[in-house]
Amino acid sequence: MNWVQLAITVVTVVSILGVVTLVLNMQYGHAGLINFGVVAYFAAGAYTYVLLTQSPPSETSLDQYVIGLNLPPWVGFIGAALAGLVFAAITGWPTLRLRGEYLALTTFAFAEVFHSFTINEQRFANGTRGLVGVPRPYREELSFLDYDLALALAALLFLIIVYIIFERMVRSPYGRALEAMRDDELALITTGKRSSRFRLEVFLFTAPFAALAGAIYVAYTTLVIPDLFTAEVTFVVWIALVLGGEGSNRGALLGITLVVLFEELIRAIPFDTIRAAQIAASLEVAALGVLLIVFLRWQPFASLTKSTRKVARS
């Protein structure tokens, strides 16, 4: 087992999924908006990045996709963020008045529709075959460094930036208003504040970060296939958030680190037979479930991740 490689992988994946967990934490942990379709932002960013940056389809290949704009990577990243914004607007606007489980179901449905679209519409991105061998952005420019390491550092930097932005929001009156809305929306409204504004803003502001994480994810995987963007991503992020303790950005990061570390460690075990690997794969999911129950019951990180707003507690 190559520990350095494992560490690089863990840092990369934790950073990418960490951003998505932070986004979910803003939406659910702070604003109380149950989003079961968070994978859709991630997928929309990944697909948009690829469609914008890949070469146009050639006549001779078996490709069926029709869009390939061959634009530079930075345009792809901006496009990915915009795609997240658009997807948040499409899903956020009609669901503004939905509460609790209704919002959960609707966001889940939107994500499934998008997933289904990527599978069935061959002209979008080759359907289930997806797009493979996506060029890694800024490979030449970063040639002085091991690319995997460079990507891990870039992803980590992105995570840190998002963490700082979100943490500042959370500690400000903005975060206080979101939590007030989460606690009692009617009580907030009767103090003269339009909660619909906060709901929409949270969706629109946070989604682009998850979409950007999706674009960075493509640089890591070098492929986009519908199988990478199933509801499982949503649930992994949810489990991470619940493990770490919703409502705390530190907790969110702790949770996703645990989950990714756990998954990557099991993946790194050299199995002798395919059968053993299959058993390990099933056990991994089961163990994750047990872990979740244990954490829910005893909340070992409760004191560690408790968030405080210094401004108001001074």
């Binding site: 208003a177 939590e179 009617l186 009580a187 409204i189 103090t191 339009r194």
Partner: protein, 253 residues
């Protein structure tokens, strides 16, 4: 001068006319009581004024602004403050934060929140919030979460959350329920003090002893309409009011 003018307001739930062509005016700077038996439509009327319900007919004007058809948040911003029969708060926030979250702040905009340009404003707001907590006797609980408060304290917190917004009119729905007698006396004094400073207050209250000693004008509602109104002494001795509360005597039936 009439601050709040309710004219011919009706609201039904299915076949039940909860508020039926209700009409009365509230003078600027008055401390008014709204009484009536259970189901008379008092809370429904509060919900109509604050925009949580929309009336089928009629008009509700505050300072010559029509409130009907506006969103609840906008009605609140226009100067209507209200409390609920079951007090509402932000349970996971501290008492201080409950008050801070109830006033507008530039830090509630995205960009200022990230760049921290609200800090000076926030310091003033914290000071102001502490004074309002003191006004309702909760200064010692400033840093405690709202879900740690007793029922009576929660009610006082809700009143403070509205007072800090400086509304033109304050609608209090049963402010004494669950509040200790000492705090009740304190509350009555606070309300009188606020009235003296120009705040208009309507109190819905089942505790008539408390109410009739507090207010200077009483509106009695029965079956969704105004039965009668007048000063507390007149109401106390009005046989119609007694009938409405206790039911008619056998000989009248």
């Amino acid at each position: 001068m009439t601050l709040l003018e309710i004219s011919d307001v009706s609201k039904s739930f299915g076949g039940l006319k909860a508020v039926n062509r209700c009409a009365f005016g509230v003078e600027q700077g008055s401390l008014m009581g709204l009484i009536g038996p259970n189901g008379a439509g008092k809370s429904t009327l509060f919900n109509l004024i604050s925009g949580l319900y929309e009336p089928e007919s009629g008009s509700i004007r505050l300072d010559d602004e029509e409130l009907v058809g506006r969103r609840p948040a906008d009605i609140a911003s226009l100067g209507v403050g209200r409390t609920f029969q079951t007090p509402r708060s932000f349970p996971t926030l501290s008492c201080l934060e409950n008050l801070l979250a109830s006033v507008p702040s530039s830090g509630e905009q995205l960009v200022p929140s990230i760049f921290g340009t609200y800090r000076a404003e926030e310091r003033t707001a914290v000071k102001n919030a502490r004074e309002h907590l003191k006004q309702v006797g909760l200064e010692a609980r400033a840093d405690d979460r709202a879900d740690e408060l007793s029922g009576g304290e929660l009610r006082m917190l809700e009143v403070a959350r509205q007072l800090i917004r400086r509304p033109k009119i304050l609608l209090l729905d049963e402010p004494t329920a669950g509040v200790t007698p000492t705090l009740q006396t304190h509350l009555a004094e606070t309300l009188k003090g606020l009235r003296d400073r120009g705040l208009t207050i309507i109190v819905v209250e089942h505790n008539l002893a408390f109410l009739l000693n507090l207010v200077e004008h009483v509106v009695v509602m029965v079956h969704g309409s105004v039965l009668t109104q007048g000063d507390p002494d007149a109401i106390r001795s009005d046989p119609e009011v007694v009938n409405a509360y206790l039911g008619r005597r056998g000989s009248d039936a």
